[in-house]
């Protein structure tokens, strides 16, 4: 690697710091870019710059967006009184990809993780409380991950929402993953499935 020019060395170094890309792959990509037409290579550079300069967090729901408020918060056909709380924009994307939910979101941008030093103040909880204070929200759905920290975050937020008794708080159902089989479900999934069984 010491034989490469400074700029090539720099590019390989940068590429190899990306997730899932080792030194060999970084070298292969760097040489591909070196061989490709200038406009083609520059398109990649432009795409990276656009992502870093145009994308920001929606000031209402903290989803990633190029316009503020985001298209979901501006959509009058969606139920603006129903808010689903998720940890990360990628959780929002998963729910949106299913195309079933017609309410809006609030992205916490993390979860309370006391042992890792992530505190309530590091999340967008203040923004959520401002939205709740507006009086336009009827129901909050807890969509945090079903982990110790996700459940802890949901309980913490639920305690704060209790100051608005008119707002209903619900939680996404849990239990057996559909399309899977009971054989592969762990003890927790089975316990949740039994506790949350439904009349048929």
């Amino acid at each position: 690697m010491n034989n490469y020019t400074q700029s090539l060395q720099n590019l390989i170094q940068r590429l190899s710091s990306l997730p899932g890309i080792g030194m060999r792959s970084a070298e292969r990509i760097a040489f591909h870019l070196l061989k490709s037409r200038p406009e083609e290579a520059m398109q990649l550079a432009d795409a990276i710059r656009d992502v870093k300069t145009r994308i920001k967090h929606c000031s209402t729901c903290f989803n990633l967006t190029e316009q503020d408020p985001c298209s979901i918060c501006c959509d009058s056909t969606r139920d603006q009184g129903l808010v689903c709380i998720v940890e990360q924009p990628k959780d929002l994307l998963a729910l949106e990809a299913a195309g079933l939910y017609r309410g809006v979101y609030h992205v916490l941008l993390g979860r309370i993780s006391p042992l890792e030093g992530i505190e309530p103040g590091d999340l967008t909880i203040d923004g959520l409380l401002q939205r709740l204070a507006s009086g336009k929200i009827r129901e909050v759905i807890m969509g945090t991950n079903p982990t110790m920290e996700g459940d802890g975050t949901a309980l913490y937020v639920q305690n704060l929402i209790a100051q608005y008794p008119a707002i209903a708080v619900t939680r996404l159902a849990r239990g057996l993953p559909t399309g899977s089989s009971i054989e592969y479900a762990n003890r927790n999934m089975l316990a949740d499935a039994i506790a949350g069984r439904q009349k048929m």
Binding site: L115, M148, G152, L155, R187, N188
Partner: protein, 255 residues
């Protein structure tokens, strides 16, 4: 390198990459260890995952891992969930106490130093945290942890003159000396915490209770008015001994 089977409690979980987690595990027969779980989030089409749905904080499982105390990191190869503490998750205080127990243990016990009795005590404590006996279950475990790790503070007598502490004279706790200081010795010690005598008698009583397999038996019911000041005293002792702050303390004690 030998693969060993052991029952483990997950004390800490850290997402290392898209697919791997680094875990701090407390194993019954091999003590505290750090292990990498590669492919922790991968899943087959039928829904099977390599580590039985993933490993979460305070989960108890039957594990298979590489064991070589000369290495920093063990490799976890199998995990079968035995207890996921779902009831614990309905109560924020229970969750915080469970994580505080995990934090204290991860700092007070040496890696690869087996403490099977402490393992049983933690397992029992975690089970009781989801009940109304959570405060005494935690304090009982905390005292047992200190005793078995060799960090128990001197609460029975004055740490300087070794005289018994009298009910009539106020005594105080000295984190620097690791114990109670009687009234006559107080002028010799800087920075002490005043400590209520009834609470001291209560703590002494807990330390005299019978123990079976490393767990204190017949714990009395405790309110937070009783357990909080004792927990605070122990926290100041631990933080002074280890020279570091405990992250969970902000969640355990209201400001």
């Amino acid at each position: 390198m030998a693969l060993v089977h052991d029952r483990c409690i997950c004390l800490r979980k850290f997402e290392y990459s898209e697919t791997s987690q680094i875990l701090t595990l407390f194993s019954r027969d091999h003590g505290l260890l750090r292990a990498i779980a590669k492919g922790a989030h991968r899943r087959t089409k039928a829904g099977a995952s390599k580590f039985d749905g993933g490993i979460d904080l305070l989960d108890i499982g039957q594990a298979v891992f590489s064991h070589d105390p000369s290495r920093d990191l063990s490799t976890l190869t199998e995990w079968s969930l035995r207890e996921g503490h779902l009831e614990l998750r309905n109560h924020l205080r229970s969750m915080y106490l469970g994580q505080y127990a995990a934090e204290l243990l991860s700092f007070l016990v040496e890696e690869h130093d087996p403490h099977p009795a402490l393992f049983v005590a933690l397992e029992k404590c975690l089970a009781e945290l989801s009940t109304s006996r959570r405060e005494e279950a935690f304090l009982g475990f905390e005292l047992e942890l200190l005793r078995q790790a060799g960090y128990l503070a001197e609460l029975m007598m004055c740490v300087l003159c070794h005289q018994e502490l009298s009910d009539r004279e106020p005594a105080a706790f000295s984190p620097a000396r690791g114990g109670m200081v009687c009234r006559s010795c107080l002028p010799q010690v800087a920075q002490t915490m005043p400590f209520d005598f009834r609470l001291l008698r209560l703590a002494q009583g807990l330390l005299r209770l019978p123990r079976v397999d490393g767990s204190i038996q017949r714990l009395p019911r405790l309110t937070r008015h009783q357990s909080d000041p004792i927990n605070r005293l122990i926290l100041s002792h631990i933080e002074h001994t280890l020279g570091r702050r405990m992250r969970m303390s902000a969640y355990i004690f209201e400001k």
